[in-house]
């Protein structure tokens, strides 16, 4: 086992700026923010995804890694120290492809905040499947283009959204860019443009 790659150069201020990027993204769904600039996480972990983990995950949370990210286990274990957990009970999931949202912890009616946070690496946040978002945080419906989500994502998300206030929240990362989809957001396929 070797953990030769460093975490945040400035653990305090980098975590703060990353958090503000995530907070802005969560408050205004669909807006793209940057985080983790300058980080050198082990492949295939991207900068924004690594910044999310370093900012939010620690020994007090549980983390589930999907198989594609198994090679980054030592780095995450060293820097975050989060106990590993199966997907069904994990507080945080770091994924390379969208997990079955219905199989994750969605919290309870009394404690919906126990619902999981999924950090998902995708290929691009500026090209690909076009989705229209609406809900809290959006003054008017906004369209995003994401490459790396399954074709039936809008339907799968609708099932998660219908659980509100229960549900899981999603942070999508590509390189050093991220955007968030809190459980409140409604997603429909954007009309195909010519």
């Amino acid at each position: 086992m070797s953990v030769s790659l460093p975490g945040f150069a400035d653990p305090v201020l980098s975590a703060q700026s990353s958090f503000r990027a995530i907070l802005d993204a969560m408050s205004r769904p669909g807006t793209v923010h940057t985080a983790g600039h300058g980080l050198t996480p082990p492949a295939p972990l991207g900068q924004a995804a690594a910044a999310c983990l370093l900012t939010l995950v620690d020994a007090e949370t549980t983390l589930c890694l999907d198989d594609a990210l198994e090679t980054t286990r030592d780095w995450i274990g060293f820097h975050c120290a989060a106990p590993r957990s199966p997907a069904a009970t994990a507080g945080f999931l770091m994924c390379h492809e969208l997990p079955d949202l219905a199989a994750l912890d969605a919290g309870s009616d009394d404690a919906p905040q126990d619902g999981a946070t999924v950090v998902l690496q995708v290929a691009s946040l500026c090209a690909g499947q076009r989705l229209t978002l609406s809900g809290p945080g959006l003054p008017s419906p906004a369209t995003v283009a994401i490459n790396g989500l399954p074709a039936d994502f809008a339907e799968r998300w609708a099932a998660n959204h219908a659980l509100f206030p229960r549900g899981v929240d999603l942070i999508l990362c590509a390189g050093d860019a991220l955007l968030a989809l809190p459980r409140t957001v409604r997603i429909t396929h954007a009309h195909k443009e010519a």
Partner: protein, 293 residues
């Protein structure tokens, strides 16, 4: 300041609070329990708000702190100085210049923007606390969206007084789902929360709860079709700046019944006076140039 982490709190605590904030934003109006820390001031002096500010604040932020609308009261001055010393941030009294505004019991008169975050200090986060003393029970009521009790309370006010007699901490529905305490802001400020472009965070230190309203979220003050929610303000204009639409403080000026009504938002009042607005109690303009003319 040496010997302390940036913004006083340790990183472990900040991460715990940051996780709670993100879930609070994802579930608008829902109270999230958190491990409130002891701060170097007593519970009841804004420890919830301070912990939120400490978890959010960065070196590039401009911080404004108000207490009942005023920048110059003890609580506001000491919290502003606390963050100036522990985080080295720029502090300001101008609403327009601030990126983070920590407040006790008011929302500034100036419309907030989508570049700002407003942090409320909350003494009692549970809107049902006076109707149901068991926290286990109120948690269940929130889970089931069972808010009939609060409507009965408003109805009883109407039968007794002819109107709803709540003048501050007036309960609101957030995003059509959660009943929420807006903290003890005057009901006058409630409409400002509706579809506000700024992110609104609420922290209750003693009660150990964090909740939030994302930008552009519906916030409705509870009412009835035949008794719609109404805001009230003292029927006067500000004595210093003449504002007829701001929330006013009543100041007793002597022991013969003298009263002065002034803007509760001191920055709003100062900005107006600087722009040349005057009220009935404005000091006389002694302009030598005019006398010479």
């Amino acid at each position: 300041m040496t010997g302390y982490n940036f913004a006083y709190l340790d990183e472990q605590t900040k991460r715990m609070i940051r996780r709670a904030i993100l879930k609070a934003v994802a579930i608008p109006g829902h109270q999230i329990p958190f491990g409130s820390r002891e701060m170097p001031l007593p519970y009841g002096w804004g420890t919830g708000g301070i912990q939120l500010t400490a978890a959010v604040l960065g070196p590039d932020d401009g911080l404004k702190v108000i207490d009942q609308g005023a920048d110059d009261t003890t609580n506001a001055v000491s919290i502003r100085r606390f963050f100036a010393r522990t985080a080295g941030v720029t502090t300001t009294t101008h609403t327009a210049d601030a990126t983070i505004i920590q407040t006790r019991h008011r929302i500034p008169e100036l419309k907030l923007t989508d570049k700002q975050i407003i942090v409320y200090q909350v003494p009692q986060p549970e809107p049902l606390s006076k109707l149901e003393s068991s926290r286990a029970e109120t948690r269940r009521m929130h889970g089931l969206a069972e808010y009939g009790l609060m409507h009965v309370r408003l109805y009883e006010d109407i039968t007794r007084f002819g109107h709803v007699s709540i003048s501050y901490d007036y309960p609101v529905m957030v995003g059509g789902r959660y009943l929420m305490s807006p903290s003890p802001i005057p009901a006058f400020d409630n409409p400002k929360m509706h579809m506000m472009p700024a992110l609104q965070l609420f922290g209750a230190g003693r009660e150990q709860r964090i909740y939030a309203i994302p930008p552009y979220t519906t916030v409705e003050s509870l009412d009835f079709d035949d008794h719609p929610f109404r805001t009230t303000r003292a029927p006067h204009a500000c004595g210093l700046c003449g504002a007829a639409d701001s929330y006013l403080d009543e100041v007793v000026t002597d022991d013969r019944g003298g009263r002065l009504y002034v803007c509760s938002d001191t920055d709003h009042c100062e900005t107006r006076r600087t722009a040349g607005h005057t009220g009935t109690e404005s000091p006389p303009v002694d302009a030598p140039a005019e006398q010479a003319a």
